[in-house]
Symmetry: C2
Subunit: 224 residues, 2 copies
Protein backbone atom coordinates (compact mmCIF):
# COMPACT_ATOMS: atom_id res chain seq x y z
CA UNK A 1 0.00 0.00 0.00
CA UNK A 2 1.28 3.43 -0.90
CA UNK A 3 0.37 6.44 1.19
CA UNK A 4 0.64 9.76 -0.58
CA UNK A 5 1.21 12.73 1.69
CA UNK A 6 0.88 16.04 -0.04
CA UNK A 7 2.92 18.77 1.56
CA UNK A 8 2.05 22.13 0.17
CA UNK A 9 3.17 25.37 1.63
CA UNK A 10 1.99 28.64 0.33
CA UNK A 11 5.10 30.72 0.94
CA UNK A 12 3.26 34.02 0.64
CA UNK A 13 0.54 32.87 3.04
CA UNK A 14 3.18 31.68 5.49
CA UNK A 15 5.00 35.04 5.38
CA UNK A 16 1.67 36.81 5.93
CA UNK A 17 0.94 34.64 8.95
CA UNK A 18 4.38 35.31 10.44
CA UNK A 19 3.87 39.05 9.97
CA UNK A 20 0.46 38.79 11.68
CA UNK A 21 2.00 36.88 14.59
CA UNK A 22 4.73 39.49 14.99
CA UNK A 23 2.22 42.35 14.82
CA UNK A 24 0.01 40.66 17.44
CA UNK A 25 2.99 40.10 19.74
CA UNK A 26 4.09 43.74 19.44
CA UNK A 27 0.51 44.90 20.11
CA UNK A 28 0.51 42.75 23.27
CA UNK A 29 3.75 44.43 24.36
CA UNK A 30 2.27 47.89 23.73
CA UNK A 31 4.84 48.71 21.04
CA UNK A 32 3.72 50.64 17.95
CA UNK A 33 5.77 49.39 14.98
CA UNK A 34 6.32 51.97 12.22
CA UNK A 35 7.83 51.01 8.85
CA UNK A 36 9.38 54.08 7.19
CA UNK A 37 9.67 54.05 3.39
CA UNK A 38 11.27 56.60 1.08
CA UNK A 39 13.66 57.28 -1.76
CA UNK A 40 17.35 57.38 -0.84
CA UNK A 41 18.17 60.61 0.95
CA UNK A 42 14.61 61.77 1.66
CA UNK A 43 15.51 62.19 5.32
CA UNK A 44 14.26 59.11 7.21
CA UNK A 45 17.27 59.09 9.54
CA UNK A 46 17.06 62.84 10.17
CA UNK A 47 13.34 62.50 10.94
CA UNK A 48 14.07 59.77 13.48
CA UNK A 49 16.89 61.79 15.02
CA UNK A 50 14.55 64.79 15.44
CA UNK A 51 11.88 62.47 16.91
CA UNK A 52 14.35 61.08 19.47
CA UNK A 53 15.46 64.57 20.49
CA UNK A 54 11.84 65.78 20.75
CA UNK A 55 10.80 62.94 23.03
CA UNK A 56 13.90 62.63 25.17
CA UNK A 57 12.88 60.28 28.00
CA UNK A 58 9.11 60.75 27.46
CA UNK A 59 8.74 57.78 25.12
CA UNK A 60 10.80 54.62 24.87
CA UNK A 61 11.82 54.28 21.22
CA UNK A 62 14.32 52.23 19.24
CA UNK A 63 15.30 52.04 15.58
CA UNK A 64 16.16 49.17 13.25
CA UNK A 65 17.81 50.76 10.26
CA UNK A 66 18.14 48.97 6.92
CA UNK A 67 20.75 49.59 4.27
CA UNK A 68 22.34 47.71 1.40
CA UNK A 69 25.81 48.48 2.76
CA UNK A 70 27.51 50.52 5.54
CA UNK A 71 26.33 51.17 9.11
CA UNK A 72 26.43 54.97 8.76
CA UNK A 73 22.77 55.51 9.66
CA UNK A 74 22.97 53.47 12.89
CA UNK A 75 26.13 55.40 13.79
CA UNK A 76 24.27 58.68 13.27
CA UNK A 77 21.39 57.57 15.51
CA UNK A 78 23.37 55.75 18.20
CA UNK A 79 24.13 58.84 20.35
CA UNK A 80 20.39 59.59 20.54
CA UNK A 81 18.52 56.30 20.65
CA UNK A 82 19.07 52.51 20.70
CA UNK A 83 19.71 51.66 17.03
CA UNK A 84 20.69 48.47 15.22
CA UNK A 85 21.90 48.44 11.63
CA UNK A 86 20.37 45.77 9.38
CA UNK A 87 22.55 45.32 6.32
CA UNK A 88 20.87 43.48 3.45
CA UNK A 89 24.06 42.83 1.49
CA UNK A 90 22.46 43.79 -1.81
CA UNK A 91 18.76 43.06 -1.29
CA UNK A 92 16.45 45.95 -2.13
CA UNK A 93 14.18 45.74 0.94
CA UNK A 94 14.06 44.46 4.51
CA UNK A 95 12.27 41.27 5.44
CA UNK A 96 10.69 40.09 8.69
CA UNK A 97 13.38 37.56 9.74
CA UNK A 98 16.01 40.34 9.55
CA UNK A 99 13.77 42.62 11.62
CA UNK A 100 13.30 39.89 14.23
CA UNK A 101 17.05 39.30 14.49
CA UNK A 102 17.57 43.04 14.89
CA UNK A 103 15.00 43.21 17.67
CA UNK A 104 16.88 40.51 19.59
CA UNK A 105 20.04 42.64 19.49
CA UNK A 106 18.31 45.71 20.95
CA UNK A 107 18.64 46.27 24.71
CA UNK A 108 15.97 44.25 26.56
CA UNK A 109 12.84 45.99 27.83
CA UNK A 110 9.51 46.99 26.34
CA UNK A 111 9.31 49.83 23.87
CA UNK A 112 6.59 52.37 23.14
CA UNK A 113 7.77 52.77 19.54
CA UNK A 114 9.82 50.56 17.25
CA UNK A 115 10.81 52.32 14.03
CA UNK A 116 11.97 50.27 11.08
CA UNK A 117 13.86 52.46 8.64
CA UNK A 118 13.63 50.52 5.38
CA UNK A 119 16.18 50.51 2.54
CA UNK A 120 15.95 53.75 0.53
CA UNK A 121 13.71 52.57 -2.31
CA UNK A 122 10.18 53.64 -3.25
CA UNK A 123 9.39 50.37 -5.03
CA UNK A 124 10.33 47.03 -3.47
CA UNK A 125 9.74 47.71 0.26
CA UNK A 126 6.06 48.47 -0.44
CA UNK A 127 5.46 44.79 -1.27
CA UNK A 128 6.86 43.41 2.01
CA UNK A 129 4.90 43.27 5.27
CA UNK A 130 7.41 43.55 8.15
CA UNK A 131 4.76 43.06 10.82
CA UNK A 132 4.38 46.82 11.24
CA UNK A 133 1.21 48.52 12.49
CA UNK A 134 1.61 51.44 10.11
CA UNK A 135 3.66 52.43 7.15
CA UNK A 136 4.80 55.99 6.72
CA UNK A 137 6.19 57.25 3.42
CA UNK A 138 8.62 60.17 3.55
CA UNK A 139 8.71 62.41 0.47
CA UNK A 140 11.20 65.26 0.29
CA UNK A 141 10.36 68.48 -1.52
CA UNK A 142 13.49 68.16 -3.66
CA UNK A 143 12.22 64.94 -5.27
CA UNK A 144 9.28 66.60 -6.98
CA UNK A 145 5.54 66.52 -6.28
CA UNK A 146 4.86 63.87 -8.96
CA UNK A 147 6.12 60.96 -6.86
CA UNK A 148 2.79 59.73 -5.37
CA UNK A 149 1.39 59.14 -8.87
CA UNK A 150 4.60 57.58 -10.16
CA UNK A 151 5.14 55.18 -7.22
CA UNK A 152 1.54 54.44 -6.23
CA UNK A 153 1.97 51.31 -4.12
CA UNK A 154 4.26 52.95 -1.56
CA UNK A 155 1.64 55.65 -1.07
CA UNK A 156 -1.45 53.42 -1.26
CA UNK A 157 -0.18 51.17 1.56
CA UNK A 158 0.93 54.06 3.81
CA UNK A 159 -1.08 55.55 6.68
CA UNK A 160 0.79 58.85 6.54
CA UNK A 161 2.95 60.89 4.18
CA UNK A 162 5.62 63.06 5.75
CA UNK A 163 6.67 65.85 3.38
CA UNK A 164 10.23 66.61 4.49
CA UNK A 165 12.70 69.41 3.65
CA UNK A 166 10.03 72.14 3.59
CA UNK A 167 12.86 74.58 4.41
CA UNK A 168 13.95 74.11 0.76
CA UNK A 169 10.53 75.03 -0.71
CA UNK A 170 11.70 78.53 -1.77
CA UNK A 171 14.39 76.96 -3.98
CA UNK A 172 12.58 74.06 -5.67
CA UNK A 173 9.50 73.54 -7.80
CA UNK A 174 7.21 71.56 -5.47
CA UNK A 175 3.53 72.07 -4.72
CA UNK A 176 2.40 70.65 -1.37
CA UNK A 177 -1.18 70.84 -2.66
CA UNK A 178 -0.42 68.88 -5.80
CA UNK A 179 1.52 66.15 -3.93
CA UNK A 180 -1.25 65.97 -1.30
CA UNK A 181 -4.03 65.75 -3.89
CA UNK A 182 -2.27 62.93 -5.71
CA UNK A 183 -1.54 61.09 -2.46
CA UNK A 184 -5.15 61.44 -1.26
CA UNK A 185 -6.53 60.22 -4.57
CA UNK A 186 -4.42 57.06 -4.11
CA UNK A 187 -5.03 56.73 -0.36
CA UNK A 188 -7.98 58.76 0.96
CA UNK A 189 -7.14 57.90 4.61
CA UNK A 190 -3.66 59.43 4.29
CA UNK A 191 -2.50 61.75 7.07
CA UNK A 192 -0.24 64.42 5.59
CA UNK A 193 2.43 66.09 7.72
CA UNK A 194 4.88 68.74 6.53
CA UNK A 195 8.19 68.94 8.34
CA UNK A 196 11.77 70.03 8.15
CA UNK A 197 13.64 67.39 10.12
CA UNK A 198 16.89 69.39 10.02
CA UNK A 199 15.29 72.66 11.12
CA UNK A 200 12.95 70.88 13.57
CA UNK A 201 9.77 72.30 12.02
CA UNK A 202 6.54 70.27 12.35
CA UNK A 203 8.18 67.61 14.54
CA UNK A 204 5.78 68.29 17.44
CA UNK A 205 2.76 67.50 15.25
CA UNK A 206 4.46 64.36 13.85
CA UNK A 207 5.22 63.14 17.38
CA UNK A 208 1.64 63.86 18.53
CA UNK A 209 0.33 61.91 15.53
CA UNK A 210 2.43 58.90 16.60
CA UNK A 211 1.33 59.09 20.23
CA UNK A 212 -2.33 59.25 19.14
CA UNK A 213 -1.83 56.25 16.85
CA UNK A 214 -0.29 54.27 19.68
CA UNK A 215 -3.26 55.10 21.94
CA UNK A 216 -5.46 53.02 19.61
CA UNK A 217 -2.94 50.30 18.93
CA UNK A 218 -5.34 47.32 19.02
CA UNK A 219 -7.59 48.84 16.35
CA UNK A 220 -4.87 49.50 13.79
CA UNK A 221 -5.23 47.71 10.49
CA UNK A 222 -2.27 45.99 8.90
CA UNK A 223 -1.00 47.15 5.50
CA UNK A 224 -2.64 45.66 2.41
CA UNK B 1 16.66 2.36 -27.26
CA UNK B 2 15.99 5.54 -25.28
CA UNK B 3 17.58 8.78 -26.32
CA UNK B 4 17.88 11.31 -23.58
CA UNK B 5 18.04 14.89 -24.73
CA UNK B 6 18.96 17.29 -22.00
CA UNK B 7 17.63 20.77 -22.56
CA UNK B 8 19.20 23.19 -20.20
CA UNK B 9 18.91 26.89 -20.52
CA UNK B 10 20.90 29.16 -18.33
CA UNK B 11 18.46 32.05 -18.16
CA UNK B 12 21.11 34.49 -16.94
CA UNK B 13 23.54 33.50 -19.69
CA UNK B 14 20.78 33.85 -22.26
CA UNK B 15 19.88 37.34 -21.05
CA UNK B 16 23.57 38.29 -21.16
CA UNK B 17 23.85 37.04 -24.72
CA UNK B 18 20.76 38.99 -25.81
CA UNK B 19 22.20 42.14 -24.21
CA UNK B 20 25.49 41.58 -26.05
CA UNK B 21 23.65 41.12 -29.35
CA UNK B 22 21.69 44.33 -28.79
CA UNK B 23 24.84 46.26 -27.86
CA UNK B 24 26.65 44.96 -30.95
CA UNK B 25 23.73 45.93 -33.19
CA UNK B 26 23.59 49.44 -31.72
CA UNK B 27 27.37 49.80 -32.15
CA UNK B 28 26.95 48.79 -35.80
CA UNK B 29 24.30 51.51 -36.20
CA UNK B 30 26.59 54.10 -34.59
CA UNK B 31 24.20 54.67 -31.66
CA UNK B 32 25.65 55.19 -28.18
CA UNK B 33 23.22 53.65 -25.67
CA UNK B 34 23.25 55.30 -22.24
CA UNK B 35 21.40 53.75 -19.27
CA UNK B 36 20.62 56.44 -16.67
CA UNK B 37 20.16 55.30 -13.06
CA UNK B 38 19.20 57.34 -10.02
CA UNK B 39 16.94 57.68 -7.01
CA UNK B 40 13.43 59.01 -7.71
CA UNK B 41 13.55 62.74 -8.36
CA UNK B 42 17.31 63.11 -8.83
CA UNK B 43 16.71 64.87 -12.13
CA UNK B 44 17.20 62.33 -14.94
CA UNK B 45 14.37 63.79 -17.03
CA UNK B 46 15.58 67.36 -16.47
CA UNK B 47 19.12 66.35 -17.46
CA UNK B 48 17.82 64.82 -20.69
CA UNK B 49 15.68 67.87 -21.41
CA UNK B 50 18.73 70.13 -20.96
CA UNK B 51 20.77 67.80 -23.19
CA UNK B 52 18.15 67.94 -25.95
CA UNK B 53 18.01 71.75 -25.79
CA UNK B 54 21.82 72.01 -25.82
CA UNK B 55 22.20 69.85 -28.91
CA UNK B 56 19.21 71.02 -30.92
CA UNK B 57 19.71 69.47 -34.35
CA UNK B 58 23.44 68.79 -33.85
CA UNK B 59 22.94 65.24 -32.55
CA UNK B 60 20.13 62.79 -33.23
CA UNK B 61 18.90 61.62 -29.82
CA UNK B 62 15.88 59.76 -28.48
CA UNK B 63 14.73 58.70 -25.03
CA UNK B 64 13.07 55.58 -23.66
CA UNK B 65 11.75 56.53 -20.26
CA UNK B 66 10.84 53.94 -17.64
CA UNK B 67 8.36 54.35 -14.81
CA UNK B 68 6.21 52.15 -12.62
CA UNK B 69 3.13 54.17 -13.53
CA UNK B 70 2.14 57.33 -15.47
CA UNK B 71 3.60 58.73 -18.71
CA UNK B 72 4.46 62.12 -17.20
CA UNK B 73 8.16 61.98 -18.05
CA UNK B 74 7.59 61.15 -21.72
CA UNK B 75 5.06 64.00 -21.86
CA UNK B 76 7.68 66.37 -20.42
CA UNK B 77 10.26 65.32 -23.00
CA UNK B 78 8.00 65.00 -26.05
CA UNK B 79 8.15 68.68 -27.10
CA UNK B 80 11.97 68.46 -27.18
CA UNK B 81 12.93 65.01 -28.39
CA UNK B 82 11.42 61.70 -29.59
CA UNK B 83 10.44 59.95 -26.35
CA UNK B 84 8.59 56.71 -25.57
CA UNK B 85 7.28 55.88 -22.11
CA UNK B 86 7.97 52.33 -20.88
CA UNK B 87 5.62 51.54 -18.01
CA UNK B 88 6.65 48.53 -15.93
CA UNK B 89 3.31 48.14 -14.14
CA UNK B 90 4.97 47.57 -10.77
CA UNK B 91 8.38 46.12 -11.66
CA UNK B 92 11.31 47.93 -10.04
CA UNK B 93 13.57 48.11 -13.12
CA UNK B 94 13.51 48.00 -16.92
CA UNK B 95 14.47 44.92 -18.88
CA UNK B 96 15.84 44.47 -22.39
CA UNK B 97 12.62 43.17 -24.06
CA UNK B 98 10.78 46.32 -22.90
CA UNK B 99 13.63 48.47 -24.26
CA UNK B 100 13.48 46.66 -27.60
CA UNK B 101 9.72 47.17 -27.87
CA UNK B 102 10.20 50.86 -27.06
CA UNK B 103 12.85 51.21 -29.75
CA UNK B 104 10.41 49.82 -32.34
CA UNK B 105 7.90 52.54 -31.45
CA UNK B 106 10.42 55.36 -31.97
CA UNK B 107 10.40 57.13 -35.35
CA UNK B 108 12.54 55.17 -37.84
CA UNK B 109 16.07 56.34 -38.63
CA UNK B 110 19.47 55.95 -37.05
CA UNK B 111 20.29 57.73 -33.83
CA UNK B 112 23.54 59.12 -32.46
CA UNK B 113 22.36 58.66 -28.87
CA UNK B 114 19.71 56.46 -27.29
CA UNK B 115 19.08 57.34 -23.65
CA UNK B 116 17.30 54.84 -21.44
CA UNK B 117 15.95 56.57 -18.35
CA UNK B 118 15.52 53.72 -15.89
CA UNK B 119 12.93 53.47 -13.09
CA UNK B 120 13.92 55.74 -10.17
CA UNK B 121 15.65 53.22 -7.94
CA UNK B 122 19.31 53.00 -6.87
CA UNK B 123 19.14 49.26 -6.23
CA UNK B 124 17.43 46.93 -8.70
CA UNK B 125 18.34 48.55 -12.06
CA UNK B 126 22.05 48.09 -11.31
CA UNK B 127 21.65 44.31 -11.70
CA UNK B 128 20.10 44.42 -15.19
CA UNK B 129 22.08 44.83 -18.39
CA UNK B 130 19.87 46.60 -20.95
CA UNK B 131 22.42 46.31 -23.73
CA UNK B 132 23.76 49.78 -22.98
CA UNK B 133 27.30 50.92 -23.78
CA UNK B 134 27.57 52.94 -20.60
CA UNK B 135 25.72 53.45 -17.38
CA UNK B 136 25.52 56.87 -15.83
CA UNK B 137 24.35 57.36 -12.25
CA UNK B 138 22.77 60.70 -11.36
CA UNK B 139 23.13 61.81 -7.74
CA UNK B 140 21.44 65.00 -6.59
CA UNK B 141 23.01 67.16 -3.90
CA UNK B 142 19.81 67.01 -1.85
CA UNK B 143 20.14 63.23 -1.37
CA UNK B 144 23.33 63.46 0.66
CA UNK B 145 26.95 62.66 -0.20
CA UNK B 146 26.81 59.22 1.49
CA UNK B 147 24.94 57.52 -1.35
CA UNK B 148 27.90 56.02 -3.28
CA UNK B 149 28.96 54.04 -0.19
CA UNK B 150 25.39 53.03 0.67
CA UNK B 151 24.38 51.88 -2.84
CA UNK B 152 27.73 50.59 -4.15
CA UNK B 153 26.60 48.49 -7.11
CA UNK B 154 24.89 51.38 -8.93
CA UNK B 155 28.16 53.33 -8.67
CA UNK B 156 30.54 50.42 -9.30
CA UNK B 157 28.85 49.58 -12.64
CA UNK B 158 28.64 53.19 -13.84
CA UNK B 159 31.07 54.93 -16.18
CA UNK B 160 30.11 58.40 -14.92
CA UNK B 161 28.44 60.09 -11.97
CA UNK B 162 26.49 63.25 -12.67
CA UNK B 163 26.10 65.33 -9.51
CA UNK B 164 22.91 67.29 -10.19
CA UNK B 165 21.21 70.22 -8.43
CA UNK B 166 24.48 72.01 -7.63
CA UNK B 167 22.40 75.23 -7.53
CA UNK B 168 21.07 73.94 -4.17
CA UNK B 169 24.56 73.45 -2.64
CA UNK B 170 24.28 76.62 -0.50
CA UNK B 171 21.19 75.20 1.22
CA UNK B 172 22.12 71.55 1.85
CA UNK B 173 24.87 69.64 3.58
CA UNK B 174 26.66 67.96 0.67
CA UNK B 175 30.38 67.70 -0.03
CA UNK B 176 31.26 67.15 -3.69
CA UNK B 177 34.71 66.01 -2.55
CA UNK B 178 33.32 63.44 -0.15
CA UNK B 179 30.84 62.01 -2.69
CA UNK B 180 33.58 61.94 -5.35
CA UNK B 181 36.11 60.24 -3.08
CA UNK B 182 33.58 57.55 -2.16
CA UNK B 183 32.56 57.04 -5.79
CA UNK B 184 36.18 56.82 -6.97
CA UNK B 185 37.05 54.31 -4.25
CA UNK B 186 34.24 52.11 -5.59
CA UNK B 187 34.89 52.81 -9.29
CA UNK B 188 38.32 54.32 -10.03
CA UNK B 189 37.44 54.89 -13.73
CA UNK B 190 34.46 57.07 -12.81
CA UNK B 191 34.07 60.36 -14.67
CA UNK B 192 32.50 62.94 -12.36
CA UNK B 193 30.44 65.80 -13.74
CA UNK B 194 28.71 68.49 -11.67
CA UNK B 195 25.63 70.08 -13.21
CA UNK B 196 22.45 71.94 -12.54
CA UNK B 197 20.05 70.63 -15.16
CA UNK B 198 17.43 73.26 -14.32
CA UNK B 199 19.85 76.20 -14.40
CA UNK B 200 21.75 74.71 -17.37
CA UNK B 201 25.12 74.71 -15.59
CA UNK B 202 27.73 72.14 -16.66
CA UNK B 203 25.57 70.81 -19.50
CA UNK B 204 28.17 71.72 -22.13
CA UNK B 205 30.80 69.54 -20.42
CA UNK B 206 28.30 66.67 -20.01
CA UNK B 207 27.40 66.83 -23.70
CA UNK B 208 31.08 66.94 -24.70
CA UNK B 209 31.72 63.89 -22.53
CA UNK B 210 28.96 62.00 -24.38
CA UNK B 211 30.22 63.01 -27.83
CA UNK B 212 33.76 61.88 -26.88
CA UNK B 213 32.40 58.57 -25.62
CA UNK B 214 30.53 58.02 -28.88
CA UNK B 215 33.70 58.72 -30.86
CA UNK B 216 35.19 55.54 -29.39
CA UNK B 217 32.03 53.48 -29.50
CA UNK B 218 33.58 50.16 -30.63
CA UNK B 219 36.03 50.16 -27.69
CA UNK B 220 33.45 50.67 -24.96
CA UNK B 221 33.21 47.89 -22.41
CA UNK B 222 29.85 46.56 -21.32
CA UNK B 223 28.78 46.93 -17.69
CA UNK B 224 29.90 44.27 -15.25
Amino acid sequence: MTRVITVQRDVAAQAKEQAEDFRREMTRRGTLVVNLLSSPGAGKTSLLAATAVHWGDQQRMAVLVGDIATDRDAQRLAPLVPAVQLTTGGACHLDLPLVQRGLEVLPPGDLDFLFIENVGNLVCPSSHDLGEHVRVVVLSTTEGDDKPAKYPKAFRTSRAMVINKIDLLPYVSFSINSASDDALSIQPQMEILSVSALQVTGIDRWCRFLVELRARLPQLCPPR
